[in-house]
């Protein structure tokens, strides 16, 4: 009877029931026909026999049907056990594969994101160096200051060269004046020599008039004439040397300075220095402005870096979640391998899963209460 009760509610879509409806209908028809004949035929023996035969036939059919149903039930139970065993074997074999896949993803993710974080760290260090407060500005200001200093020194050098040129011109002029003065002095001496010569001539005449008495005086006059002649020669020589000295000095400066173009060269050098200094100062001002603009961007860059640092932490959470899934799969595999799948209670299993969680995302996915699924305060001091 127990089998009958079970059979009454049994349905298995994958296994058609063996003539269950037809057999029930046949049994009901036989019983109804027997009873009808018994009622119609009254107490006739033939009718009673027919009715009995019909009833026996119905009972036989019922027994046959019960045997068939018990057999079907046994088949279905066997099929179900085989399905369960197959599913268990499948899970036991698939679980380690899933675990290996997950661990591969974890390992590769950790390694690659680690490398990415290292590269980002290096980039940040360089950015810090470039964007250090006032670093670029101070160096550009130092450069600008050095440039201005160098410009001043170059201008001082040009001024010194110009002064040197003026001193040289002044020297040549002075020497010229001195030479002219010397020539005038030489002319005066020559005039004196000429006067002496005239005096000696007069003395010669007077000595001749004096006759024999003037004869010794004539010797002195001759000496005076010789002295006058030699004085005139010395004067000419002196004048010639003074001219020669002035000319030589002038020639020396003129030849060395390239026919007097030194003043032009110094002027050109001065102009060039001023142009270079002005151009460099303009460039430095542009550089300083660019550095100023970069410093204004510094805050924005730092905010972007901070945002990227938060985003880079995703790998840690992903890795932890995957580790927990992997651990749970290993545990399931272990249980299935020990043949304790019958002992698995869904609610207990899910509760065990939750004990490993650490991220609020895991609690949220699990369907935990809002308090567990929400991230707590970022920082707690004890």
């Amino acid at each position: 009877m127990n089998a009958w009760r079970r059979l009454a509610g049994w349905t298995a879509p994958s296994q058609p029931l063996p003539r269950t409806g037809r057999d029930r209908w046949s049994l009901a028809c036989c019983a109804a026909a027997g009873l009808l004949l018994f009622a119609l035929a009254g107490a006739t023996l033939a009718a009673a026999g027919a009715a009995a035969a019909l009833l026996l036939s119905g009972l036989g059919t019922a027994r046959s049907m019960a045997r068939q149903h018990e057999q079907a039930l046994a088949d279905l139970q066997r099929d179900a056990q085989e399905e369960t065993a197959r599913a268990t074997r499948l899970c036991a074999q698939a679980a380690p594969v899933w675990v290996r896949q997950i661990e591969t993803v974890r390992a590769e993710g950790n390694r690659e994101v680690g490398e990415l974080a290292r590269a980002f760290g290096e980039l940040c260090r360089k950015l810090d160096h470039v964007l250090a407060p006032g670093a670029g500005r101070s160096s550009s200001e130092e450069l600008l200051s050095a440039l201005e200093r160098n410009g001043c020194e170059l201008q001082a050098l040009v001024a010194a060269l110009r002064q040197l040129q003026e001193d040289k011109d002044s020297l040549v002029r002075d020497v010229g004046v001195q030479a002219a003065q010397l020539k005038e002095n030489a002319a005066d001496i020559r005039q004196i020599a000429l006067n002496i010569r005239m005096v000696s001539l007069n003395a010669t005449i007077e000595a001749a008039r004096a006759g024999a008495a003037g004869k010794p005086f004539g010797v002195i006059v001759a000496d005076m004439r010789t002295l006058a002649a030699r004085t005139a020669e010395a004067s000419d020589l002196f004048s010639s040397h003074a001219d020669g000295l002035h000319r030589s000095l002038k020639d020396v400066f003129t030849q060395r300075d390239g026919q007097g173009s030194d003043a032009l060269s110094i002027g050109a050098a001065d102009a060039l220095v001023q142009r270079v200094v002005a151009s460099s100062q303009a460039m430095m001002r542009q550089l300083t402005e660019a550095i100023g603009a970069m410093e204004q961007e510094r805050g924005k860059v730092r905010a972007d870096v901070s945002h990227a640092l938060v985003a880079l932490q995703f790998q840690d959470r992903v890795s932890q979640i995957l580790a927990h899934v992997s651990h749970n799969l290993e545990e399931m595999q272990s249980r299935l391998g020990e043949g304790r799948s019958q002992a698995l209670d869904e609610r207990q299993w899910l509760e065990r899963l939750a004990t490993h969680y650490s991220t609020h995302e895991e609690f949220a996915n699990h369907g935990a209460g809002p308090s567990a699924a929400q991230p707590g305060p970022a920082v707690t001091f004890f």
């Binding site: 950790n110 994101v113 290292r118 880079l312 932490q313 959470r317 970022a378 920082v379």
Partner: protein, 123 residues
């Protein structure tokens, strides 16, 4: 002036790097360790002004590491910040009981970490 030294203990390379970027950018000197045992080895003969430690790590977890450090006369007064994805009060209680000074939940913003460090670091 010598830079202050901080040890960062986390099994995640990317997390160590992220924390390192934040701290080095603020002028601290950073030493990294991949788990509690590695950190204990690196403590030997060194002096740190602060430690930042993950909770869930292989070999030796963060709570055990804090307990070990608090037994070491040389390092027992070094403040320790726990850095973890865990935000359950029960876990925080474990950290506090072990001797940690603060609990920072990942993902953290660098400014938050630097504020906590500035507040706790030894002079």
């Amino acid at each position: 002036m010598a830079r202050k030294r901080i040890m960062v203990i986390d099994d995640s390379v990317s997390l160590r790097e992220v924390v390192g970027i934040s701290l080095r950018g603020a002028g601290y000197e950073v030493t990294e360790a991949c788990d509690g045992r590695d950190a204990l080895a690196k403590l030997d003969g060194s002096r740190f002004h602060l430690m930042i430690c993950d909770v869930n790590m292989p070999v030796m977890d963060g709570i055990s590491f804090v307990r070990e450090v608090k037994q070491m006369p040389r390092h027992r007064f070094v403040p320790i910040i726990m850095l973890t994805t865990e935000s359950r009060e029960s876990r925080k209680g474990e950290g506090q009981l072990a001797g940690a000074k603060a609990w920072v939940v990942k993902p953290f913003r660098p400014e938050q970490m630097l504020q906590a460090v500035a507040k706790l670091i030894l002079p």
